[in-house]
Every structure is written in C-alpha cells, then in structure tokens.
C-alpha cells in the first residue's frame, strides 16, 4: 500500500523559463494569428485582382456612367448629364419595344421549354430503356455555340430551300413563310431556336429532380392504384415545385440576356420586331449613338439580374433549410 504525493498542479514557479508578460503574450498571439491573413492574401490575390479590375470596377464605373453620355470613342467626350438618361429610359420607344419583346420572348420561351422538358423528363423517367441515348442526343444542341445554333436554323427556315418551307409547300401548298422577314414570325422563330437549344439542359435538370423521388414512393403509389395524372399531381409536382421556382429564376436571368441569335438572324428586325434589351444596349453603344441611354439600360439590366440572383439564393437557402 503506497501513498504518493502527486500535486495536481506542479508549481509553475519552479521552472526556469520565465513567463511572458500579459501584454507581450497578447501582442505575440495577435501577430501569430495575423500570419493567416498574409497566406490568405497570397491565395486570393490572383482571383481578387482579376475580379476586381475586370468585374468589380466595371460594375462601379457602369453605375457612374449611367449618369453620363459619350466617352466611348475619342471624338465623343464624356459629358455628365445627371438623371437625364434615367428619365429618358421611360420615354424611349425603341427601348420600350426592346423590353416588351424581351418580356414576350422570356415568357413564351420559358413556358414552352419547361412544359416540354418536364414532359420529356417524365417520359425518360418512366421508359428507362435507351434513355441514355436520348439524353445524349437531346443534349447535343448545347454543344454548339448559340451563334452556330442560330446559323443552323438560318438554313432550316430559309425562304427558298429551308426544310420548313419545303415541307409547307409540299403538304399545304402555296407560298413559303418568311420566318425571319415578317412579324411576329421572326420573334417566334427566335423563341423556337432558343427552346431547341435549351431543351436538352432542362430535360436533364428535371430528370435529375424526378430521379430524386424515391422509387418506393412511386411504386407505392402505383400499387395504390393511383392513376397517371394523380401520380403526376401527387408525387411529381410536389417534388419538382421547389426545383421549379429556382429553375424559373435562373431561366429568367439567362433568357433576359438574349442576344446572339437575334444578332445573327435578324439584327433586331424586321422593324424592331426582334429587338431585345441586350441587342439595344449593344447597338446603342457600338453604333455610338445615344450611349447615355445604353449606359442607363445596362444598369437597369444589372439591377434586374441582381434582384433575381438574390431571389434565387433565397430560394436555395429555403430549400436547404427544409431539407435540414
């Protein structure tokens, strides 16, 4: 039976190395912590510099420019005009047409592409055999840049040799349709081209959403004898709804920027029938006419997109909360 004397705290004073004073300890601790700042700066600076110079500064500069006109080329000096640009955005008929066209385009394109995508995705979800081939093939239009997609359709809708007119003439007879030369055909053609391009992406998107529905749930519903439509409403729609809202915001953001196909197919025509907001901005800027209005509309576009971005983050956050 031993008893030993083991102090819980060995007396600190016995030891030879003196302690730091409180002040010195705090100072050194602070300096030590700050070393991570230097390291972080090293890792962040390549991106921060590129981002700062070529995105953050332009955003700020753009806001400033919206109160100016001119200054893009040497012969046209910049003039500060206060709120003039902003008041004129309301009255400009070309801009109003562009906004209206963009709105029409966004609504039709998204409704059509979402309806088709959900339909095709549920087909692919149900008929799994060979679905990989279909997925890959539907994705194909996304490979080509928007410009090339538009050019392909330029051939398809040609008045003389486009396949659509050939079919129309053969089956219905009569003259061909001026797909790009008449209103509202031109805008609808642009809508079709963009639907064609985006469809594959949204099919894959919704398919991923549908496949997150547990198989058992689907099977259980089938055994319950739930009809197709009921199953769609009771299971498919609720799973897709949160996805749908988020997708909608994203789709609006992207489609709002329609430009490439308009520029190559119609250049805004005929008679501004396909003029869009971005087309308007680009044209005003680089035809160097009325740049002030273009500056203000750029910022208008920026605000719309930032608000929508905020909305999408909010939706994502809400979804994540619900999942947690």
């Amino acid at each position: 039976m031993t008893t030993v004397d083991v102090p819980v705290h060995e007396a600190a004073d016995d030891w030879t190395v003196p302690s730091l004073s409180d002040a010195e300890y705090r100072w050194r601790a602070r300096r030590y912590r700050l070393r991570t700042v230097r390291r972080a700066a090293g890792f962040l600076s390549p991106y921060l510099v590129t981002w700062g110079v070529f995105l953050a500064i332009p955003v700020g500069w753009g806001i400033f420019l919206s109160f100016n006109r001119g200054g893009l080329i040497r012969g046209d000096p910049r003039v500060f005009v206060g709120f003039e640009n902003w008041t004129r955005t309301v009255g400009d008929s070309e801009l109003r047409t562009a906004v209206k066209n963009t709105g029409i385009y966004v609504v039709i394109a998204i409704v059509v592409v979402f309806a088709l995508a959900i339909f095709l995705a549920s087909l692919l979800n149900h008929y799994k055999k060979g679905s990989n081939f279909y997925k890959v093939a539907l994705y194909f239009p996304l490979l080509a840049p928007p410009i090339l997609g538009a050019i392909m359709w330029f051939f398809m809708v040609n008045f003389d040799f486009g396949i659509l007119n050939l079919i129309k003439r053969t089956i219905i007879g009569g003259d061909g349709v001026r797909f790009l030369g008449d209103n509202p055909h031109a805008l609808l053609t642009i809508v079709s081209v963009e639907v064609w391009r985006g469809l594959g992406f949204w099919v894959l998107f919704y398919l991923a959403g549908l496949q997150s529905v547990p198989e058992e749930l689907q099977a259980a519903a089938r055994i319950d004898g739930a009809g197709k439509w009921r199953r769609f409403r009771r299971i498919t729609v609720p799973t897709l709804r949160p996805l749908l809202l988020f997708a909608l915001v994203i789709a609006v953001i992207f489609n709002f920027q329609l430009f490439d196909s308009v520029q190559v197919l119609t250049d805004g025509g005929p008679r501004l029938g396909t003029a869009t907001v971005v087309w308007f901005i680009h044209r005003r800027l680089f035809k160097f006419q009325d740049t002030g209005l273009a500056y203000a509309s750029s910022i208008g576009l920026l605000i719309v997109v930032l608000v929508l971005t905020g909305l999408s983050f909010w939706l994502l956050g809400k979804r994540r909360q619900r999942e947690a």
Partner: protein
C-alpha cells in the same frame, strides 16, 4: 530529446472550456497517458501542442523554448490521428516519404529512411499500395511509420487504437510500447480506455471537463485516487462509494451510515488528524470490489442483501444492496452464495478511502 511543459494552459471555444488551467511537465523520453471520458479536452491538449489550435491562455514549452507562436510546420512534433489521416492519393511509400520530401531531404536518404521505418513497422511489402488497399491495422502502421520517419521531438497519439478490433489492439499496444522503448521519444498518448492507460503509461494524467484531476504512476493513481471521479473512472467495476457522514464520538472520528459505523484510525487510514477533523460532516466511504469480501452475519461489516450474481469465469461479481445502493464485490468463482441472502461485507480499513463533502480523498 525533448521535455514538454504546459504552463496554465487554457483553450476556450466560445463558452466551452475545453482545456482549463492545465499545468504539466513531461520529462524527456517519458510515455505519458492522458486519460478521461470523451469530451474532456484530451484531443484539444494534443492539438494545442501540435499547433492545430491556438491557446486562449498559457504557455507551451518544448525543451525550454516557447512554441505557442511557432507555426505547426516548424514545431517538429508528429501526431498519429484516430482515423490515421493517410493521404488517399499517395502510395504507402509516398505517404511515409512525404514529411522527408517536404524537408527537401535527398532522394537516396529518403528511400533509406522510409525503408528503415517500414522495416521497424513491418510494412515493407505494402509500400506500393494505396491506403484504400490496406486493412485498418495496416493503415495504423503506415500512420506510425509516417510519424517516426522524421524523428520528431515529440510524439502525439490521439486514440490510435480505437479503430482496431480487440485482438489487434492488444498486439499493437505491446508494439507501441516496444517502439517507445527503442526510440525513446517523448510521447503523449490520449485514450479513454483505462486498460490502455494502466498498461502503457509510465505516468498518467486523469482529466475531466478540461481539468487535470490527478497525475502520477498508474498504480498509484489506482491505489489512491485523489477524488471520487478518479476513483470511479478507474477500475472495472469501479470503486464502490457508500454515502454517509463523519462524526465525532467522544474524541474518536468515525464514518457512519445506516446500520453501520466504522471507527477511523488516522494512522491506518493514512489521514492527517487535522484533515480528519476538518472533514467532519457529509462524507463517502470508498472500497474497491476486490477489497470487499462476503462475510457471515456475525462478522463486522456493511450489512446488505445479495441481489445479482455475475460469474465471468475468472471471478464472481456479486451485486449487494447496501442501504438501497448497489455495491459490487469480487469473489473467487467458486464462492457459494444465493441471491436474497443477508450478508455482511468485510474489508481491510487500510484499503478503504474516505472522501469529504467536496469528493476529495482525505488520504495524504
């Protein structure tokens, strides 16, 4: 060759005092075990020494040098993590060589050092494999090899055996001790397993809620636990505690509970008479199960009723109800006793402990 000193070390995470006012001196070459229940701050102490966490207050010294404000990359301590933390995309060879290559050692020297470490841990045949192609025990060895290959000043091990199965754990335990003997590197070994702590440590520190409860050689800590926490944390089954009070009766102090009184002789109990005087009041009597025996009703001892019998082969554990509290008694396996019978529990007062109202052992 390194002595490690922790001086009034604290680490707070917000309002959580993970480590509070810890003072320790670990002489060069010692194998120290930190023992305590999960969440008591053992890992945090290791991480503070390694530099993975910054101390809230207090100092860490290695060989007299203050290392609080030295980057972990420069501290030259090695740590074996509970989940080994092997680099999954590197072969075993690359894993073990990584610290040496980081130190820009010449290629041939690296190969030689890796070879030596691999031989020591018997993993020469695994050098070309990826971690995912290894069993748990093999990964463990690779992690150890990676730690020893660069001859660190201090070895930190955070529950390195807890992911191994029982048999492998026993074997690796012995090997770790052999390794320490051979290398003589100061080692701080964290575990919540008291068997590991008792068998491996030259000294051990028992922790609770961020504070060190007791520090000493394992057998000393076992024999004379500083407080009821240590008393019940060590030993399986733990020390029995019987609630009662210290009373003075015509000049004599004795421990009294319902149906029992034990006169305390300061000399046998190794308690200073003044201490005993001060502790008059609520108290607990502590006796380990192996120091209790079942006695007949005529004998001196705690009165109780046998409730359960647990034969485990080598011993028979008898659970006795004393004043409504279960008390464990370890008896030889061939003991004849029936549940429900009234018994007395006899013990040598020299092997009993008295804990005061603050749960501190009165023994000096």
């Amino acid at each position: 060759m390194a002595e490690v000193i922790l001086r009034q070390l604290s680490k707070h995470f917000g309002s959580v005092e993970a480590v509070e006012d810890v003072t320790l001196r670990i002489p060069d070459g010692e194998f120290l075990v930190l023992l305590g229940p999960s969440g008591c701050g053992k890992s945090t102490i290791l991480r503070l020494i390694a530099g993975l966490e910054d101390a809230t207050a207090g100092e860490i010294l290695i060989d007299g040098e203050l290392i609080n404000f030295k980057d972990p990359t420069k501290r030259n301590v090695a740590m074996v993590f509970q989940n080994y933390a092997l680099y999954p995309h590197m072969t075993v060879y690359k894993n073990v060589a990584f610290p040496l290559e980081t130190a820009r050692m010449a290629k041939d020297d690296v190969a030689e050092a890796v070879q030596r470490a691999a031989e020591m841990l018997e993993i020469e045949t695994l050098l070309k494999r990826l971690p995912e192609q290894l069993s748990g025990g093999q990964r463990q060895r690779v992690a150890l090899a990676r730690a020893i290959v660069r001859q660190p000043l201090v070895f930190l091990m955070d529950e390195p055996l807890s992911n191994l199965d029982a048999q492998l754990r026993l074997q690796t335990r012995l090997e770790l001790m052999g390794l320490h003997e051979r290398l003589g590197i100061t080692t701080i070994y964290v575990t919540h397993d008291q068997v590991e702590a008792m068998t491996m440590g030259q000294r051990m520190a028992v922790m609770r809620d961020g504070r060190i409860q007791q520090m000493g050689q394992p057998t000393d800590v076992y024999d004379v636990p500083a407080n009821t926490f240590v008393a019940t944390f060590l030993g399986a089954p733990p020390m029995n505690l019987i609630a009662g009070s210290l009373v003075r009766d015509n000049g004599h102090v004795s421990f009294r509970c319902e149906g029992y009184e034990l006169a305390i002789d300061p000399a046998t109990a190794a308690i200073a008479p003044e201490t005993l005087e001060e502790a008059i009041g609520e108290a607990q009597l502590g006796v380990r199960p192996e120091h209790l025996t079942l006695a007949s009703l005529d004998d001196e001892g705690l009165p109780g009723v046998v409730r359960f019998l647990e034969p485990v082969g080598s011993d028979l554990f008898v659970s006795v109800n004393v004043n409504g509290q279960p008390v464990q008694v370890r008896m030889p396996p061939d003991t004849k006793v029936a549940t429900g019978s009234d018994v007395r529990l006899a013990f040598d007062p020299a092997r009993s402990h008295i804990f005061d109202a603050d749960s501190q052992n009165l023994r000096s």
